[in-house]
Symmetry: D2
Subunit: 354 residues, 4 copies
Amino acid sequence: MKGFGMYSVGNVGWIDADVPTIGALDALVRPTVVAPCSSDTHMSHGGSGPKENLILGHEAVGIVTEVGADVKLFKPGDVVVVPCTTPNWLAKGAQNPISNAHDEGLMKSFKFLGAKDGVFAERFHVNQADANLVHLPENVSPEAALMTVDMMSTGFHGVELADIGFGDTVAVIGIGPVGLMAVAGAALRGAARIIAVGTRPNCVAVAKEYGATDIVSYKEGDIAKQIIALTGGGVDRTIIAGGNAETFAQALAMTRETGTIANVNFFDVTETLGFPAYLWGLGMANKSIRGGFCPGGARRMEKMLTLIAAGRIDTTRLITHKFHGFDKIPEAFALMDSKTQDLIKPIVYCDGIA
Amino acid sequence: MKGFGMYSVGNVGWIDADVPTIGALDALVRPTVVAPCSSDTHMSHGGSGPKENLILGHEAVGIVTEVGADVKLFKPGDVVVVPCTTPNWLAKGAQNPISNAHDEGLMKSFKFLGAKDGVFAERFHVNQADANLVHLPENVSPEAALMTVDMMSTGFHGVELADIGFGDTVAVIGIGPVGLMAVAGAALRGAARIIAVGTRPNCVAVAKEYGATDIVSYKEGDIAKQIIALTGGGVDRTIIAGGNAETFAQALAMTRETGTIANVNFFDVTETLGFPAYLWGLGMANKSIRGGFCPGGARRMEKMLTLIAAGRIDTTRLITHKFHGFDKIPEAFALMDSKTQDLIKPIVYCDGIA
Amino acid sequence: MKGFGMYSVGNVGWIDADVPTIGALDALVRPTVVAPCSSDTHMSHGGSGPKENLILGHEAVGIVTEVGADVKLFKPGDVVVVPCTTPNWLAKGAQNPISNAHDEGLMKSFKFLGAKDGVFAERFHVNQADANLVHLPENVSPEAALMTVDMMSTGFHGVELADIGFGDTVAVIGIGPVGLMAVAGAALRGAARIIAVGTRPNCVAVAKEYGATDIVSYKEGDIAKQIIALTGGGVDRTIIAGGNAETFAQALAMTRETGTIANVNFFDVTETLGFPAYLWGLGMANKSIRGGFCPGGARRMEKMLTLIAAGRIDTTRLITHKFHGFDKIPEAFALMDSKTQDLIKPIVYCDGIA
Amino acid sequence: MKGFGMYSVGNVGWIDADVPTIGALDALVRPTVVAPCSSDTHMSHGGSGPKENLILGHEAVGIVTEVGADVKLFKPGDVVVVPCTTPNWLAKGAQNPISNAHDEGLMKSFKFLGAKDGVFAERFHVNQADANLVHLPENVSPEAALMTVDMMSTGFHGVELADIGFGDTVAVIGIGPVGLMAVAGAALRGAARIIAVGTRPNCVAVAKEYGATDIVSYKEGDIAKQIIALTGGGVDRTIIAGGNAETFAQALAMTRETGTIANVNFFDVTETLGFPAYLWGLGMANKSIRGGFCPGGARRMEKMLTLIAAGRIDTTRLITHKFHGFDKIPEAFALMDSKTQDLIKPIVYCDGIA
């Protein structure tokens, strides 16, 4: 079969691979709509070290083509939503109530990106189908569902980590697709004022639609200083959904005592995260710093999808570009890699798979 | 001065009373807009035992007329929002992180109803002004603010007790003003499907505006059975905002294992609350039952008001009847007592106070 | 093979059964030491409805005799501790962070008692061995480990549900083996004063060893009144580990506003649990009522066992009677059924299995 | 009156000062036993910037000599325990459920050190006596109580921040008096293995008495590496109760994914706290970093004292040096400043005050 991925660091293209074999608990899925993500492009540039002949992609809605002998809830032909995080539920780490993302160790539940071939393929493998897949609900579009598997689940995890109370003032740093979902999630979690930090006009427009009450731009000066001025002292909660080590220190600075800084941004492996001790009240400010990875599994997906089904959120506002044809994956991937001004999230309808 | 209240159980009317004296930390306030509440009418009928010559009322926005020597944040002329719960912050019970409603014992923080004269008076007393009052924010109307002091704070407390997670299915039993606020609060807290239980057409209409996705009526049969059928097994969270002992048992029945039942309904002192053990999984279902009183204080008020200021909620949808003139309080009170079909919440503008 | 169980309601004895067959993820285990539990005897009397030819028992330490093809962490000969609750980790209910006891519905994770043959057999079946079994740690005795699989895990769950803070006053109602573990757990969780309710002298003695500071007896009058008098108003937290519907109401009465009542007692299916509304502050007291089933799985077992290994608790103080020989199970079972004065917990060393 | 403090940075000695005047809610207290703390000596060296003619000291048990007109619970002659943190309960920050330490801003509830004269004086001022003081319980010694007001409350706050679950493995970095209380608190909170990091022999001995199962020394190499080796991958929870910026990074390194790092150490104002991003899973490890200041007030003190009264902890194991006579404060202070090998905590009985 054919899949799109990386031959080696810096080289992407179509790869010939065997159709994955599945175990008794697993499923084989043909993608119907997929989306490239910046972690795919990041990996293609070597962000997770050298990889060879690896099919990329971890955001997909698809159709089951084959199931293992012990799969009970799915059969070939079922339309399924595939979480980007698919824990091995038989590993002890998946029994940890804090997060299911670390089944056999740090982020090991994230299997599509690097641990095996991904979803940009004619067929892809899903471990423990009954525990990880969900049927596409009747009143949710495939496109809307596709935005839940990583973007919404990750952005909403940022909101969960931020531990927002009714009426809190919240800053969201970064308004790419994950940050926009964090904005929407904060509004759905009881935040009052939401200050979104970003500059790209279409992201700013969507941020406002999702509930941002204020916009702060990096271009206007130090964002921490701006936000402290705007709020008369800082925010209750900050969600980091973009940026670098400098952003991390700014997040500390803009958050009041007793506040929480919640991170869902991937920092670079070469970075050191730090902040002057006085921004943390010398360790005494009761400011919490939390950061986590997108939770997965079927229950998580259901919770996200039911919010769409109930009309609480329209995730399709993230989708700025639509490509038709499995063969358009490289084009969508290149677009994601270049991050043009008008891009939030591209998707590809996988028509044309044999 | 003049105030409206109860001469004795069953007899209400205008009462002549001395203007309250204030201590060094307290304030004296003249109401500008007030609202009768069913706990006022309940008390007038003897719901809290015999009371004589007691001024009623605990929902008010007003103007400060006098402050004690140690009050720092307020001065005569300030327009203030007055929480119905005004803890004595110097009592140990107010240091309890679970609730500030029980400063010196059960519900003792609720001082306006019964412990002293209430707000239906030309002047009323507010203990510990700096800790309990807030200035009316510029972009919040007095009417909107008035709906926060008990209705919103109580309804949202129901939501907080329910411990809602993203995507949960929530039932709200009772869609009087508190139940409607619970519907709105559940939507703002990440609930997906919200099933409101009630019948009155205008309440149903407002429930839908506030986010109810389904309406269930007592008139169509047992509400637990209806909700179990509607959801294929029950809801994740139930908020009780009306009803009686039967309702309590129904709430247990309609809530799934690992769910939460949250109560903000006043049950009658003569009632016994109970449920067949099997509805609670014989004690093993990990279903939590919680119930609490409206939290108060300045911080609480600010959190509620900032949600209005940020445009997250329009509390004025509760207001169905407006009376103009301090002398109209008896009329508004009688309306609340009769609970006509078209009533949600009446308010009285207190023009005409000397 | 031979197993001890119930032919029908009220009739117990040895049963001939086939050796269980195991799936790819499962293990077959030969018990080395087992303990009868009151839920076994309760079932034999029809407590869970009619059952026929069912092997009983759900507390065991044993030796693996066979593993399925996909089991990775265990092999024949391994000495293992077997939690009484063994969730199907592939079911969505097991992804619920609140409890793993309800994998496919209410208490469905409790598979040994009724859903399949239990552990009082020459061989018994364990589902999903890697996720449910743990190796017996080197510095933990089999007897001590045996007390964790239900007694300690259940008693400590009561403590977890009670949400104890440092310095809280805690009542534990019932000081059978689960209640005693709740006493020990409360002391290990930061309770200050612990009031144990019970009468049997050896249970009282062990309760004191485990940290009870006060003992209250049913025989001296209403336990709620006694505890209210003793504490000047009631306790912060109450754990129910024995009793009936009356006990439930007493627990409400003896717990202060903002307190928690935590239940790990099995109530009878015919009972109605209830309390006068005023004991719950008419619904306003911010008293939480929680009740749950023993959590299971490998991670839970490890957490319990590591407390023993670190010397924090000696669970063997529960063991009052030791029987040697697999054929002594009926005798131990009869003892548990009769609940003699000097009994806390009997165990049986399963020597003599073929 | 006479008090011991700092004339200026680096110069300490006896200061003549007026007896403090008290407001209607306040009390005046004569110390009976006090303890110098490293934050006193730190301040004397300029750690909080230049200060002049400031009486030091914030750990005291004493006798009330005068109360304000509105104090209800205390009268002259009462023996009282004085928390080092005495919030202004009328400030909005004190209504924050996360911490009462930041009433009017960062650490503003800590009034004895720098905001006014401290407790090393013939008389000292206590704000809001009813809300901040507690009577010395009958069965708690003054010395034991003295150790709660900062050492135990701070160390136990570290434990609370660490969010320990039953059976967790916990590292405590630093075993001065606060770290030792953190060890004791972790054992009382359900930790299994407790790894204490320190070297001084008498601290090591007390750490073991308080529940440490393992001791790691800085002198044997990098503590993170040692602890990772000892635990096969790291601990669940880490409490930082001593050290510097390097310690902070080590704490991140030694804590597993989903773990918590809890800080109660004062970092230096000149330090930058940081860690390589990969130690935090690039932001994805679900490792929480929390740090906070000693909570105060009467309720907090009661919770600490009741643990002593119930026999759960003997805080007097911290006391290594006892001085008799108010005039010995300089000597005790000098000892604390020099931190001799055999010192944990010195106390001074304030005999000889006029």
